[in-house]
């Protein structure tokens, strides 16, 4: 049999998975749009034009204008930055907290484990959206607050995942060997076990970005998220609700953008999962 590196095996499988590639392209396009927003948008997203209020899509405004005559396409292009930022920062926070708590719980077990698991149970039993809504409303809805609060309320699944990985990895020979040569706990946790449990964490992080994008847009839709005039897909949709009988384009396009973005992250995440899982490789070889 020809020898292949794990990485080339991964890429080979990933490329053959059509949906995963679609997901990757969607996510890359999002990065592109967000990075070059000022170049791509035909108008200044905040430019008010009182002569062209609530105009349906036409050639000069491909996605119409809003109640202040602002160009919806330009606002959506700039709104992609919010989606991107919220997704990544919130998931970054959640992943770091989740990895640390999960590693500590799984590695030390006993009382430490029990206390952390109980804490996870408590966090899971408070309806998350209620919690986020209340905290954001009370501490104020700046973009940073939104990212931090979403991060602080979505780490539980990561830590369960990491804990399970640690429980199964910590008695393996390579860990015992590291301990035998006198490696410190910190070194074993981060240098040996964590490295080996990164694959599922990566998958759950990519899927987590999708969740964070949905939560941010829901918050902005309810008027508690990103505050106008800063454009976000959620707050354009919120306008759409106010003008539901007059301007369908305010509802249709931002929602479509959210749908496609979330779909992209989900497809990418599932694609990585399928390409990373060696059990699936074997089933295919058979």
């Amino acid at each position: 049999m020809q020898r292949k590196t794990l990485r080339s095996l991964f890429w080979e499988r990933f490329r053959r998975n059509g949906l995963a590639v679609v997901g990757g392209i969607i996510v890359m396009s999002l990065f592109f749009v967000a990075a070059f927003a000022p170049l791509l948008s035909p108008y200044d997203p905040d430019a008010i034009d009182r002569h062209h209020v609530l105009e349906p899509p036409d050639i000069s405004h491909p996605l119409g204008t809003d109640d202040l005559g602002r160009d919806v396409l330009s606002r959506m292009i700039f709104g992609s930055r919010i989606s991107l930022a919220v997704g990544f920062v919130a998931v970054g926070i959640a992943t770091i907290i989740g990895m640390i708590l999960g590693a500590v719980a799984g590695y030390y077990s006993g009382w430490t484990d029990r206390i952390i698991m109980r804490f996870i149970d408590i966090m899971l039993s408070i309806p998350t959206f209620f919690l986020i809504l209340a905290v954001i409303a009370f501490i104020g809805s700046s973009i940073w607050n939104i990212m931090i609060v979403i991060g602080l309320t979505s780490w539980m699944s990561v830590s369960r995942l990491v804990r399970a990985e640690f429980l199964s990895l910590k008695e393996r020979e390579f860990v015992l060997a590291a301990r035998a040569i006198g490696a410190s706990d910190l070194r074993i946790i981060f240098g040996h076990v964590m490295i080996n449990s990164m694959a599922p964490v990566l998958v759950s992080a990519v899927l987590g970005v999708a969740g964070a994008v949905l939560v941010e847009s829901a918050l902005s839709f309810l008027g508690i998220g990103v505050q106008p005039p800063t454009p976000s897909w959620g707050n354009i949709l919120s306008l759409g609700k106010d003008y539901i009988e007059l301007a369908w384009w305010l509802s249709v396009f931002p929602g479509l953008a959210i749908l496609i973005t979330v779909l992209g992250y989900n497809l990418l995440g599932e694609g990585i999962r399928d390409s990373i899982d060696p059990r699936l490789w074997e089933s295919e070889r058979r």
Binding site: I122, I126, F130, A134, S251, I260
Partner: protein, 332 residues
């Protein structure tokens, strides 16, 4: 089984305690004092009046004492008095025993969530089973794609689109409230029909995400079960495929679904804020949203606690259901 249940119930106590702790301290995250909402609205308020107000709500005491007092009250389901202008007790706002069921907020939210769970089960399970038994067919591929789109769908957007299409353009369904203006003058049947028409969109929207998740889960659970030996045995002894799938495989594949349903209670309740807000439904989610916006702290704390309690109850019921469904666990 009884000992397991007892143990499970005892474990709930520290969790409940933790929930009250979190609900309480979140309120005190807010800068300033809860009574600021009164004093801000009324700049002429004297320092004495302000102090009196703080004393009335117990805010002059240390925070630990405040927590203790609050805890002592909520054990008796007394969540205090709302800060809003009506000053009614929080519990009365959520569950007013004197009004008809349909006007009690907790009941409205509970009913919609329960009905959407029923809808999820009725639609998602057959879809998932069919997908699994017809793996890699065209139907399976369409269903898989639909599930991905369903996962990614922002429910509030779906709600808006359906409102525009069915409510504004076609005028088939009402788009807000639970009842029409002329509800009181309708006959019993008329009332039931009116309620049903108002409930169709909210229930469909709140069930939508769960629909995608559960049918996907049912599919993978079923796929795992039909590869097991006992299914092969059932086939080998000549049972018709229908019996193999529905009598033998289905029962086993259902077990993880029970757990999933229990775990989804929390997100269903959380989601009620969104759809109750969009459809103007007078439920607990709408009250929560209004209380958050007006900084009505007692009501916010009350609903957070009740929501968490309902979620825990859902998880517990799922555990019990799991035990009833699986004789291996029952025997333990």
């Amino acid at each position: 089984m009884l000992t397991y249940l007892m143990k499970r119930m005892l474990e709930l106590i520290p969790t409940l305690f933790g929930i009250t702790l979190i609900s309480f301290f979140i309120i005190h995250l807010a800068p300033g004092k809860p009574t600021d909402i009164f004093t801000e609205l009324n700049p002429k308020i004297t320092p004495e009046a302000r102090e009196k107000l703080e004393k009335y709500y117990g805010l002059d005491k240390p925070i630990i004492v405040q927590y203790g007092l609050w805890l002592k009250r909520i054990v008796r389901l007394d969540f205090g008095e709302s800060f809003s202008s009506d000053h009614r007790p929080v519990m009365e706002k959520i569950w007013n025993g004197r009004k008809p069921l349909i006007e009690r907020r907790l009941f409205v939210t509970f009913m919609i969530n329960l009905l959407s769970m029923v809808v999820i089960l009725i639609i998602a399970l057959p879809l998932g089973i069919f997908s699994a038994t017809h793996q890699n067919t065209l139907y399976d591929k369409i269903a898989t794609t639909a599930v991905f789109v369903g996962f990614a769908m922002p429910t509030f957007w779906l709600a808006l689109l359906l409102m525009i299409l069915l409510g504004v353009d076609l005028r088939w369904l009402p788009i807000s409230q639970l009842r029409s203006m002329n509800y009181d003058s309708l006959s019993v049947m008329g009332k039931a029909w009116d309620l049903t028409r108002h409930l169709i969109l909210p229930i469909f929207v709140s069930a939508f995400t769960g629909l995608a998740a559960d049918s996907r889960f049912m599919r993978s659970s079923m796929l795992e079960v039909i590869r097991q030996d006992f299914v092969t045995v059932a086939r080998a002894k000549g049972l018709p495929e229908r019996t193999v799938i529905y009598r033998h495989a289905f029962r086993n594949a259902l077990l993880p679904i029970i757990t999933l349903m229990g775990l989804s209670v929390g997100s269903l309740i959380g989601g009620s804020v969104i759809f109750e807000n969009i459809f103007g439904i007078p439920g607990m989610g709408q009250l929560f949203y209004m209380s958050v916006m007006t900084r009505d702290y007692p009501t916010v704390m009350g609903i957070l606690t009740i929501g968490a309690f309902l979620t825990l109850t859902g998880n517990l019921l799922a555990d019990i259901g799991y035990m009833l469904a699986d004789p291996r666990i029952r025997a333990r």
